[in-house]
Symmetry: C2
Subunit: 700 residues, 2 copies
C-alpha cells in the first residue's frame, strides 16, 4: 500500500476481518501507532529528550484530520486549509476534470477563494472527543454468543453512535481498540463541503510512477491542498500546524499524526495463514489481472487513459502493497517467529478458567473453517466483487436503504444506521462522472470472476447470467440503467420503499435478485466468523493486557494515532541510503518519458529554483496504509514534511516493525513552499502557509 | 495446467530446476508415470488381471508420439495419421489462418491428401530406442563439482547425443531419470514435415472455455489430426493404435501412454518452499496481468481477437494450472506431510559416509540461496522474460548460433549442439506470422517487468531503456527489426558470424547488449544452482534406490511414460460424479454465447446425431501437463479415448496423487467418430480410423 491510498473499497476490505491485536514493543525501537489517550511520553522523553504535555497532545489531535475515503490530512492555516497527498485527493481532481480539461494531467490552482472547486465526494473529519465506552459495551455483550452477540453488538453501537451524532455535522464511531480490550467512542466534526485549492501535475505528484512506488530515493511532490467550508465560507480552524521555516533536519525528532488503516501484528498464526492462503492470493490475482486490463484499456486513446488513470493507480498501488504482505507471510522466518510468540499466550490461555478463554484458539480455527467455506460467496455477493464498479454499489445502497431505513435504528445494517446516513447520502448522490466503457469493463470483470470462482453450474451464477456472457450482460446493465442520472438517484433515495419498488431498472433488479443470498452470507459471516473471532481475541487481549498493562498499542483501526521517530537513512546491501533528496535530483532523473517526465512548468522554472532544496526524506516513524497525507511535525508542532509513502521494507509493516530498515517517506516542507512560489506562482497559498493572512480566501 | 498445453516456453520453464525424485507407491493406488523399461506389470496384473508382455509394450511405445513443442500424440493409422488435441495443434491451426480465413474459428478439413497443409513449426517424435548410459555419465562426472561438473556433464551429453543422432531424422536426448539414479539415452525418429488434416472449430474443441477448463463434466471435442510425411509422402507407420469399436466402458482398464512434462513429487521441502515463495508467485502475477492485457486487447476487434486467441489460451491455462500448484503448496497439510516423509531420508543420509551424501540437504539450501539472489537476473536475461515474444528469441538464437557453432560440439551451449540443430533451424525459420501489435504488447510487458523487478536505477535497466519508456522502445524494436523477414533470418543463420556481425538490426543489437550478462548468470545458475542440486539429488536418489529398488517411478521428464487406471467417476461434496457425458449434454449446455456457443455445424447436424453417444469421460490414470494428446487405450492397445485435461483435483498432481479424486479427462473415441462422420462429413478420415485404407492419403 502506498502509504494509504485506501479507497473506501480497499479500506472496507482491509478492515473486513475486524480482528486486531496488541504488540509488545522493545524498549528502544521507534515502534508503535499510539492512540492519543495513551502516548508513551516517558519513552519518547527518554529517547529523544522531549516529553509531550497535554496541551501539545490536544493541539496535535485537533490539528490532524482524516479523509473519510481513506487517507490522513492536517489543518495548515486558521482558515480551513487542509494539506494532504495528491493521491488522496486524486479522485476529486479526476472528477472535476472533463474531456479537454484534464486537471490530473495539468494540475489545478485556484488563484482566488471563489475559484476553489467543490469536490464531489470528499469528506474531512476532525477528531474532537474520545470517550471510553468499554463498560457499556461489555454490559451489552456479556454472556452472549452467535446471533445474539452479533445483534447486541450492532444494536449497542447504533445506540451509542446515534446519541453521539446529534447533528449531521458530527460523525461518531465505536472503535474496537485492543479488540474488545477497549471500546472507545470517537466523535468527529464532519466537513462535506470540501473544495480543491491546489494540485500539481500528476507527473510530479507521482514522479517515477509505479516503478518508483514504495522505493526511495524519491522525487515526488505528492501534495494537494483543499479547504473545508462551513455555510459556504472557509471554516475556522484555530488548531493548525504552521510550516516550519527550516523543515526536517537529519536526526531530528519527528511525529507523524495520522490514521493508519490496518495492521495485523497480533493476528493469531491461524489468521495469518488464512491471509496467506486465501485472502491475499485471491485479491492479488484479481488486482494483477485488472492491472493488465486497465493498462491495455488506457492504450486505446487519450480519453481512455484519462478516465482510467486513477483506477489504475489504486490497482497498482494495492497490488504492490498487498504483494509485499504476501511475500512477508511467505518469508522463511515470519510464521515460525509468530508461532513461537503465540506459544506463550496459548499456554496462559489454556489454563484460564474464565468462560471461553481456554478455547479461544480453537474457536478461531472453527471460525476460519466457516470463513473458508463461505469466502467466495461472501466476497462475490456481499462485498460485491461480482459486480465491480460504482454503479452496482449505488443500486444496492438504494435498494437496501429502502428496506433498512424504516427499521428501528438498532436493528439496521451498520451502514444504514442514522449516524452513517450523511456519508451514505454523499456517496449515492456524488456527481462524480461514470464512464460507460470503463464501467462495462469493470462489471464484465466482476461477472467473469463470479463464473470463474463459483462455476458455470452454480444456480446463483445461472440465475444472474442466464444465457448471457458476462460482457453481454455487463453492457446491457451499464447502458440500460437509469442510475447514472443523479436526479433519479435522489428521487429513489427520498422516495423510499414505494419509489424503489415501483422503479424498473435492470441494475436495481440485479441487486434485488441477489440480495437474499448476499444478506444470508453476511449473516453467517457476522455470526459465525466475525463474532467468534471478536470474542476469541477479546480473551487473548485481556490476558495480554493483564500482563503488559498500557505499555501496548493496539493494531491500526483507521483512527488517529501518533508515531514518533527521527529523520534517518538506512543501509541497503551494505551501502548507506541518505535520508534526503533534492529538487535538483528530480531533474537528473527526468527522461522525458512517462512516468519519468517532469511537467513543462518544472522544466521552464528550473533556472529560478534553488536546486539544493530538499525534496523528499525518510524517517523511522512507524506508519502504514492510511497514513498517506499525514503531517510530519517537529516537537514544536510545526510541519516539516508530508507523509506519502513507505520504502520497500515498510511492506512487511502489517506484521512487524523493523526500525533498522522500515522507513516512512515524506515530501519535505521546503519543496512544497519552493514549488508553490517559484513554479506555480501560488503566492496566495504560500503566504497562508507562512502564517500570513489567507489572501483572498478570507474574503470570499 | 490443462493436461499439457506445454509450449516450448512453458516447458522450458517447468523443466528449469532440473530436479526430480522418486516416489514410493502404495500397493493399491493407480499411481505412477512409469518408464517403458520399468513397468509394474505384476502390480497391474494383480489389480486388473492383465499382464502386459514385451510385444504389447513395444507396440505401445512405437504407437505413441510426442510433439516436440510440448504435447503427446499417437499414430492411429498405418499411413502416418497422428491424433492429438486441438489445443496441441492450436499454434499450427492459427499459423495457417489469415485475415478472413480463420481456421481456429471455422475448423479445417482436408478432403484429400493434397489438401493437407504443412504446419510451420510442428515436430513429431517417435521414441525408437532407450539405452542405459548411466555408467558412461558416472565415469565422466565422478569427483567433479562446480564448473568442472557442469562442463563435463554438458560435454558428455553432447558427445552421446551426437553419436546417437547420426542424421537429421533422428533426435537424441540424455534423460536424467531418478535424477542421476539413471541416465538413459532416448533416440527418437524426428518428423518435421507435419501436415494438418482435420481440426474442429475452437468453439467445440474448447467448449466451456476457461470457466470449464480443469473441470468435469465436460463436453469438448478437443481433437486434431495431423499427418507425418517423409519425402513428401505420408510416412509409413506400421505401429499404430486402431480405434476400438465400443470405446471406453465404465470400470474398464485403461492405459495412458504419453509424455508427462514435469512433476515435483520428490522435491525436497526446501525446494517446494522456494517454488511457493519465489517461482510460482512471480509467474502467477505475470500470467494474470498478461491475461488482463490480452483479454482487453482482444476486445479491440475481430482481428485482434483472432491473433491473440492462442496466446490467451496458453496464458489462462498456465495460470489456472500453476495456481492449482500454488494452492496445493499453501494447503495446510502438504508441507508438514512432506517434511515428515523427508525426515526419514535425512536421517539415512546424515550418517552416510559416501562423498557429499551427509551434506546433501545442506547443499540444496546453499544452492537455493544462490538461486534466490540471481533469480530475477536469470529469469529476465537468460530466460528472456524481459523480452517477451518470439522476436527476441529469434534474434538471440541467431546471435548465439553465430558464436556457438564454430566451437567444438562438446563446449557449446546445449541448445546449439549438433543434435539440437534441426529443431533450432525449424524454430528460427518458422514462417509463422508475427503480428506487430501483439509483439509490441508482449515486448512492452517484458521491458516493464524488467524495470519493475530490477528498478529504474539498475545499470542494466538503464543500458537497455536509456531514456525511453518500455512501450516506446518496444515499438521501435518491433517496427524496426528486419528479423520478421524469413529470408533475412535464413541468410543470417547460414552466413554465420561474419554475416551476423555485419548486420545492423536493433533487436540483434539488444540481444548483443545483454548477452554477456545473460551468459554470466546462466553460468552461475548451472554451476552454483543446477549442478549442486543435481549432485544432492543424486545422493538422495541413490539412498532411496537402495531401499526400494525398481518399485519406483521417476518424476516426469517430458518423456514417454505409461500410466494405468480405470474409467471411473468420483464423489464430490457427497454426490457422485458420473464418469461419462454425452453429446446431447453439449446441446443442453449451449447458451449461444462464447465460450458456451456450439458451432453452427453442430446445431445443424443435431437431428442426425445419436445424442447418447459418449462425449467425454474420466479415468483414474495418473497424468500431468504434457500428457495432453495422449491416447487412452484398452488392453488390446485400441484407442478408447484421447486425454485432454484433468479435473480440478488433478492440479495438486505435481506433488502427490490421490486416487480418490484425481481424474484424467478424455474425449471418448465414439464422439470422435460420430462427429467426423455426421458433423464434418470427414469420411476419408473416419474410414482410415476404422482401419479401412487411408482414402486419398495413400495416393498423393
Amino acid at each position: 500500500m502506498r502509504t494509504l491510498p485506501l479507497t473506501h473499497r480497499v479500506y472496507a476490505w482491509l478492515s473486513l476481518l475486524g480482528v486486531w491485536g496488541l504488540f509488545v514493543t522493545s524498549a528502544h525501537a521507534d515502534e508503535g501507532m499510539w492512540t492519543m489517550n495513551n502516548l508513551p511520553v516517558d519513552r519518547i522523553a527518554q529517547k529523544y529528550g522531549f516529553k509531550p504535555d497535554q496541551a501539545w497532545i490536544d493541539k496535535v489531535q485537533l490539528g490532524s484530520a482524516r479523509l473519510a475515503q481513506g487517507c490522513s490530512a492536517s489543518f495548515v492555516s486558521p482558515n480551513g486549509l487542509v494539506m494532504t497527498n495528491h493521491h488522496c485527493a486524486h479522485a476529486c481532481i479526476e472528477q472535476l476534470s472533463q474531456k479537454g480539461q484534464d486537471l490530473v494531467a495539468n494540475g489545478f490552482y485556484a488563484p482566488s477563494a471563489t475559484a476553489e472547486k467543490k469536490c464531489p465526494a470528499l469528506e474531512v473529519n476532525q477528531l474532537v472527543t474520545i470517550t471510553d465506552v468499554t463498560e457499556t459495551m461489555r454490559k451489552a455483550l456479556t454472556g452472549k454468543t452467535g446471533a445474539a452477540f452479533s445483534d447486541a453488538k450492532k444494536a449497542e453501537q447504533a445506540k451509542l453512535t446515534k446519541a453521539c451524532a446529534t447533528s449531521d455535522d458530527l460523525r461518531c464511531e465505536v472503535v474496537e481498540l485492543y479488540h474488545g480490550g477497549r471500546y472507545n467512542l470517537y466523535q468527529y466534526k464532519r466537513y462535506q463541503d470540501v473544495r480543491l485549492v491546489f494540485a500539481p501535475e500528476l507527473a510530479i505528484a507521482f514522479f517515477g510512477g509505479d516503478p518508483d512506488n514504495f522505493n526511495f530515493p524519491r522525487y515526488d511532490l505528492d501534495v494537494a491542498f483543499v479547504r473545508i467550508y462551513a455555510n459556504d465560507k472557509p471554516a475556522s480552524t484555530p488548531n493548525y500546524f504552521p510550516f516550519s521555516a527550516a523543515g526536517a533536519q537529519e536526526n531530528e525528532l519527528t511525529f507523524v499524526s495520522g490514521n493508519p488503516g490496518h495492521t495485523s501484528r497480533e493476528y493469531s498464526v491461524a489468521e495469518l495463514l488464512f491471509e496467506r492462503r486465501v485472502r491475499l492470493p485471491r485479491r492479488l490475482f484479481g488486482l494483477s489481472e485488472m492491472r493488465g486490463q486497465l493498462t491495455e484499456f488506457a492504450r486505446r486513446g487519450a480519453e481512455q487513459k484519462r478516465v482510467s488513470k486513477t483506477h489504475l493507480f489504486y490497482v497498482e498501488n494495492s497490488f504492490k502493497g498487498l504483494k509485499g504482505r504476501e511475500m512477508a507471510l511467505l518469508s522463511p522466518k515470519l510464521i515460525p517467529e509468530k508461532r513461537a510468540a503465540e506459544k506463550v499466550l496459548r499456554q496462559k490461555l489454556a489454563s484460564d478458567k474464565r468462560p471461553g478463554f481456554s478455547k479461544a484458539y480453537e474457536s478461531i480455527d472453527k471460525a476460519l473453517e466457516v470463513y473458508s467455506n463461505i469466502y467466495d460467496s461472501y466476497e462475490l455477493f456481499e462485498k460485491g466483487r461480482a459486480f465491480e464498479g460504482d454503479l452496482f454499489g449505488i443500486a444496492r445502497t438504494l435498494l437496501r436503504a429502502a428496506e433498512e431505513l424504516p427499521k428501528p435504528n438498532e436493528t439496521r445494517l451498520k451502514e444504514y444506521t442514522d449516524a452513517a446516513l450523511p456519508q451514505l447520502r454523499q456517496t449515492v448522490l456524488s456527481p462524480a462522472p461514470i464512464y460507460d466503457d470503463l464501467a462495462i469493463l469493470e462489471l464484465t470483470f466482476g461477472l467473469t470472476k463470479l463464473r470463474e470462482h463459483l462455476g458455470f453450474d452454480d444456480p446463483r451464477v445461472r440465475a444472474i447470467l442466464g444465457k448471457k456472457a458476462p460482457a453481454t450482460l455487463a453492457a446491457e446493465l451499464v447502458r440500460g440503467t437509469k442510475l447514472k442520472n443523479l436526479a433519479v438517484r435522489k428521487q429513489l433515495l427520498e422516495g423510499g420503499k414505494a419509489a424503489v419498488d415501483a422503479f424498473k431498472d435492470p441494475l436495481l433488479e440485479l441487486a434485488r435478485t441477489i440480495d437474499s443470498d448476499a444478506r444470508a452470507v453476511r449473516k453467517r459471516y457476522e455470526e459465525e466468523v466475525d463474532g467468534p473471532l471478536t470474542q476469541a481475541h477479546e480473551a487473548i487481549a485481556t490476558v495480554r493486557f493483564e500482563t503488559h498493562g498500557t505499555s501496548l498499542y493496539p493494531d491500526a483501526t483507521f483512527t488517529l494515532r501518533l508515531s514518533y521517530g527521527a529523520v534517518r537513512g538506512w543501509t541497503e546491501n551494505g551501502k548507506p541510503v541518505a535520508p534526503f533528496t533534492t529538487m535538483g535530483g528530480a531533474f537528473d532523473r527526468h527522461t522525458g518519458e512517462d512516468p519519468f517526465a517532469l511537467p513543462q512548468r518544472w522544466l521552464t522554472a528550473k533556472p529560478r529554483l534553488a536546486l539544493d532544496t530538499r525534496m523528499n526524506f525518510a524517517t523511522t516513524n512507524d506508519i502504514i496504509g492510511g497514513n498517506s497525507g499525514s503531517p510530519v511535525i517537529n516537537k514544536h508542532a510545526q510541519i516539516v514534511g508530508l507523509v506519502f509513502d513507505g520504502n520497500i521494507h515498510s511492506l512487511g509493516g502489517d506484521y512487524f516493525f523493523d526500525e533498522k530498515v522500515n522507513r516512512t517517506v515524506a515530501v519535505h516542507s521546503s519543496a512544497i513552499v519552493e514549488a508553490l512560489q517559484k513554479i506555480y506562482a501560488a503566492e496566495r497559498i504560500a503566504q497562508e502557509l507562512r502564517g500570513g493572512s489567507a489572501v483572498g480566501a478570507a474574503a470570499p
